[in-house]
Symmetry: C2
Subunit: 137 residues, 2 copies
Amino acid sequence: MKLSKTSEYALRILIYMAKVPDQLYTAKQLVKELKVSDKYLRRLMTDLSKSGFIRSIQGRDGGYTFIKSPEDILLYDIIDSVEGMEKMNGCLLGFEKCSCTNPCAMHYLWVDIRTDLNKVFRETRLSDMDFNKILRY
Amino acid sequence: MKLSKTSEYALRILIYMAKVPDQLYTAKQLVKELKVSDKYLRRLMTDLSKSGFIRSIQGRDGGYTFIKSPEDILLYDIIDSVEGMEKMNGCLLGFEKCSCTNPCAMHYLWVDIRTDLNKVFRETRLSDMDFNKILRY
DNA sequence: TTATAATACTACCTATGAGTAGTATATATG
DNA sequence: CATATATACTACTCATAGGTAGTATTATAA
Ligand code: SF4
Ligand code: SF4
């Protein structure tokens, strides 16, 4: 389940913002910190606003801020909103949809890892990130 | 590290062939069993021949057969040959090349899973597959 | 030696994710 | 109200993975 660039950006942006929530971030500022294409980030921010994680404030002194508390946002939610999580519900290896009563060749090699991975994404909240250990956003 | 369709096909094909090695498989036969696009499979078979896993026999009564023993083929080798394994050596999440002394936000959530995953691909040989349990190719 | 049945090759087509350009809209402040 | 500084929107471009079409080549067997 290699994440799309878009998911990667979404995670990086929201994790960066979650380090100091309750603050207004402009697109300009985020672009500078995260080194993501300006136009692409702006478009993504609009999507993330529509998804209800943040809200946008237009006009002078505008920007983006959390509208949902980082404690209520799972990594899963973020990925799900930008690229859809069927990719994870199905087979993370990219194989065809799986019934698991009808296992393909990779299944038994894969299933434990899948469980761990799902756990990470479904149980980690933005507020759970260990910000002290993060050296790069 | 969602695998590309091409890796998926390569694994499925070679695993299918490894169930009964020492046999000649025609493209026609593989297409029928694995339900992969005919032309695409053929092209892939040529690649797999050039990579040294199988050899092709042209002409009437031709087909493909292992030239390297399934005992000497790691899943890693297959993926590496069709899509390159940097994707796995780098960050499986799709993040930029990582130094790990300079961890990004996902690192500590991810690193153990990455280890397990690498282990599976780097230590499983085609001959290790548990063919009794595989119900789908 | 000719017909047949297989693989190999070259060149396209198509859909999608990523990124870019330009314009429109909103709002705080003087 | 005018201006400066934000975000929102629409419509492109570009690269790549996946898939397709048609032709060329190879080798067996009658
Ligand atoms: S059987 Fe397991 S490995 Fe195979 S496609 Fe389903 S989840 Fe993936
Ligand atoms: S620090 Fe860890 S999670 Fe981040 S890019 Fe490197 S390997 Fe991936």
